[in-house]
Symmetry: D2
Subunit: 335 residues, 4 copies
């Protein structure tokens, strides 16, 4: 068995990681931490009662190095790199779910804050499995992609060669409230968002530079990425609608089939996708359609799983030489 | 008092019309009909108990002409024109909430079915109040705009002169379930749509030609309108996000202020709009923002009121020489 | 015009009071306060934009006395009596929406905290309109009942003479989340309560002694009141199910009809009541049924209106010699 | 491997059975039927795409007997016994999820319709695992309990010896909408139930005689069971609040601990239970509290799993000599 740990076990993605590790045949959960510590995990997450009993501690790099070969960091940005740099020098493999190692230093510092671990930033691999599988296998530090970039890039990347990159791309994303985390806020108050919908940070969300940078890296294309996220009254799930202008009138389904023929966690749909068919799973469902040269791509993921925890676990599986799909959830919560 | 009637009193928009007429100082509700008839309106809509007691009949053109100076037709398309042509020759003024008189014959027949009343189609006025006020005042037949076109056009029309019409416009709309009407369907089953979101009829919804035709009429601009509606787990309200490419880097707020300075039922917002602030009202809230030449417009309406019933009442007020705002609801259901 | 004010204008009930006063023919809104002050009411509640522009101040007893004949206190308990005692000596009439003047001193201090205004506590009238109408008319201090006691008592009181008071009464109440107020809490986080339901403070909620005390006062009956409130994933509305044991097999509908025959804001239903038919209104809908000697009473109110703001306004109307129903909302938000 | 089949694969419980069988180590899904047949299961339930591909047929007793050692009947009552009697004579073991074999003939015929298979009714075992485990092991026909009776009985049965059976018991149940099945109805229309709650069939629901009969059978106690189910705006999950009068002031937690100490799928809680902690699992969470002699019991289950499909699978496991918990889901969908 391979000993693994989770730092940031109190949040929603922390819980999802615990849940998946309960059934993992090769990873043994050997360490759990939150900022405050001093609680049992089944108290922190009452739904775990009778499934696991395990102490949650305050994060301690020495202890982590002692107890874990690999650790998942489910922490806010900034806190994450502070700990990661301590761990990597102690030989612990890391899957970081924050933004800290996702971007080039320049992009990162423009969107977030000064980077505190430039030394290891360069070696971090972007954990978008279908596009970085080989690099992940040999990485010691993987940066889990943002939830919006995951859904957007999986839908959009196959089309980049056919897109008129001089025209703006518009990304209209809709996320369930769990995407905003467990922290209390006026926005996540039931009375605010029930029966409601609104855009937030339109054209200014930090996931826009992440999307643009990755398109540029993978396809060498500079594109005007215009990203508008919306909050919807749902618990989990994320639907991303991408609008772009094509250079020619290609067959969208054909493009997708060619790109993802052999990918077992991407499902191509012949009807517009919905979030309930993926909630609870690692799947990304994709559909695309065209009106003349106007292209519409619709992709759906579970924001806490494919957009965070299960994508992190897939990376961890690869980093430890296991089958990518080990213990990944595939059965949706539907109905 | 002016006697008015409602045909199609059993649906959601029928109910909204009844509710507004309860407090109308000049219109007296003098006739109610549904296809089946033979019921009291307070049985049909139990929330009306103790507020009104009134029989609902089967629609009869003679009786309507006897009892009403003006009638609201809240019927499905096709059924509506069948009745309207009988009424107009009997001298009854009509506000039709269906699609039957909204479009040019050619556009209509391509999207719906053969038109059965071409004789009066030509004189019908499109009931988008802010743009057709003078024509409505002297009309005897007004066609209430679709809910999506209302929200889209009110947001988009002021920008048409500044938009690069050679680039596609993308409209990503999100509607509450009441927009699909009271009819039972798998889509409106609670289990289907709760905690879910999905696009339907993407790039093929019948409201797309309505939007395109009106832009062409008002601004003489031929534009590629790409319209993708989504269903969201909310009862009422509609949020429309429009994405377009500008010819130059104008100030979006300025454009909106210039267009709507004197309009009392349009509210310009300095933050992205939400549907709860307009649910229960005739208001259309609009916000716009730009990233280089990429334009984002966000508009919100109550689909059953501004998208149907209250817009119809505003037209009726104008047709009968009253103040446009008479009895229009302005106080939102918030919280 | 009669000048009135609201202290605590920032919360949900404060907003409901403002909304009703917008259309009140005899009350002029002349003063608004919150704890922090220094904001315009249309900023505090963006849905009010273009309907009212009015400054919100920090509460100041002198100023209130200057500007208002009557004031609504929509404050937490304790804060309320601190201010009320300052106002009453200055001749301002008060409708207090907190718990501070609802109970006998002993009951209050057992459930809440030491009472700071015992001097005026004795003269406060319990604002359950249908049962204290005459006393309210001549009161200068009215205590608005709790939302749960309102729905419970209106349903239960007519049956007390027929109930076996030696058997326990069980009250299973279900409230929308707005009942917990605007304050952020884990319980009102969308992710916690969406798709969920749970009891809170079972058998220990502070509204239980309020219910028991009022039954004792009105009917002289000492009863074991067992009250279990539940939170449900709805914004507004409260459904109360009362279970009691009858002394004899009476006809429940008859009992209700006799009690409420002339009450225009109580609607007796012949089918189980629902909260959507009352949301947005001052109505209390009631239904009752029996199985042998087991009695089931179901009553529904809008917790923010009949359970708080509109019941307070009804009291204020009576206190100022107006018709009780002035400006009370009666048209439900349905659908 | 043991070949099993499902008749009624199109409904929600049919889907849950398929989902659990995907991971069952000893049962092979070898037959699927619906009334219409002629479709692939992954078309019937699009969330199953890429997980399973399997034809759904019209139910045929011969074929079932050929292909299955055991079959789950997820059919409406009446349809179920029509098929069951054909299967049992062909040697197929049956877990019936309908009401057809749950009750004594007299009770059944009073609540439902004439019984068409009295011959086998007598040998059917009631599938409430914790109370009929030994009988289930040797049964060839098990009747899965109703969802409401399951949650009610698991909470209530341990208290029967301490309850004053001369006083009425009140059961206030709240169910998510999936409990009403996939069939379209006004009640399950999103607009009807969103933001709403109401009782249905109060004191007259068919699950009341089921509860009363089982209490009588297990404890020999005749009790007045007063059952009032409510519909809530949630997809899955069922919360049952039981109110009863005690003979003496016992310690409720102690009673529960004694009853369920060794039961691994019943979790005793020290705070009121909620449905999200059990949704997606076979667990029944229970909490109880007392006020003098007034007893409050709160139990929560997933209506589609413990209230139907997973309880059926547990029975099937026992009938085939396997560990009861094989393939039962235990990880909740939370958040």
């Amino acid at each position: 068995m391979i000993n693994v740990g989770i730092v940031g076990a109190g949040g929603y993605t922390g819980l999802e990681l615990v849940k998946m590790l309960l059934n993992h045949p090769r990873f043994r959960l050997n360490y759990l931490a939150t900022t405050s510590g001093d609680i049992m995990v089944e108290e922190l997450h009452p739904s775990l009662l009778d499934l696991i009993t395990f102490p949650v501690e305050e994060a301690d790099p020495e202890l982590i190095a002692d107890k874990c070969e690999l650790v998942f960091l489910a922490l806010p940005h900034k806190a994450s790199m502070g700990l990661a740099k301590e761990l990597i020098v102690r030989g612990v493999k890391i899957v970081d779910l924050s933004a800290d190692y996702r971007l080039e230093r320049e992009t990162y510092e423009a969107a977030y804050c000064p980077h505190e671990d430039p030394e290891h930033l360069g070696e971090a691999v972007y954990g978008l499995i279908e596009y970085y599988r080989d690099e992940i296998r040999v990485a010691r530090l993987v940066a889990g992609p943002g939830c919006y970039p995951t859904a957007t890039l999986l839908g959009l990347l196959p089309f980049i060669p056919y897109i008129d990159t001089s025209a703006p791309i518009f990304i209209d994303a809709k996320s369930g409230v769990s995407g905003a985390g467990k922290k209390l806020s006026e926005t996540s108050h039931f009375v605010t968002i029930n029966d409601n919908i609104f855009a937030y940070n339109p054209l200014k969300h930090r996931h826009a530079p992440e999307i643009a940078e990755k398109i540029a890296k993978i396809h060498g294309a500079e594109i005007s990425v215009n990203f508008v996220p919306h909050l919807i009254p749902a618990t989990r799930g994320e639907l991303v609608s991408v609008y772009a202008t094509l250079k020619e009138e290609i067959d969208p389904q054909e493009v997708l089939e060619k790109a993802y023929d052999t990918e077992r966690f991407i499902r191509l749909r012949h009807k517009p996708v919905d979030i309930k068919s993926v909630a609870g799973t690692h799947f990304c469902d994709i559909y695309a359609q065209r009106n003349g040269k106007a292209l519409f791509i619709s992709s759906a993921i579970d924001n806490l799983l494919r957009g965070a925890a299960s994508q992190a676990l897939a990376a961890a599986n690869l980093m430890m030489g296991l089958d990518e799909g080990t213990a990944l959830p595939v059965i949706a919560y539907v109905p």
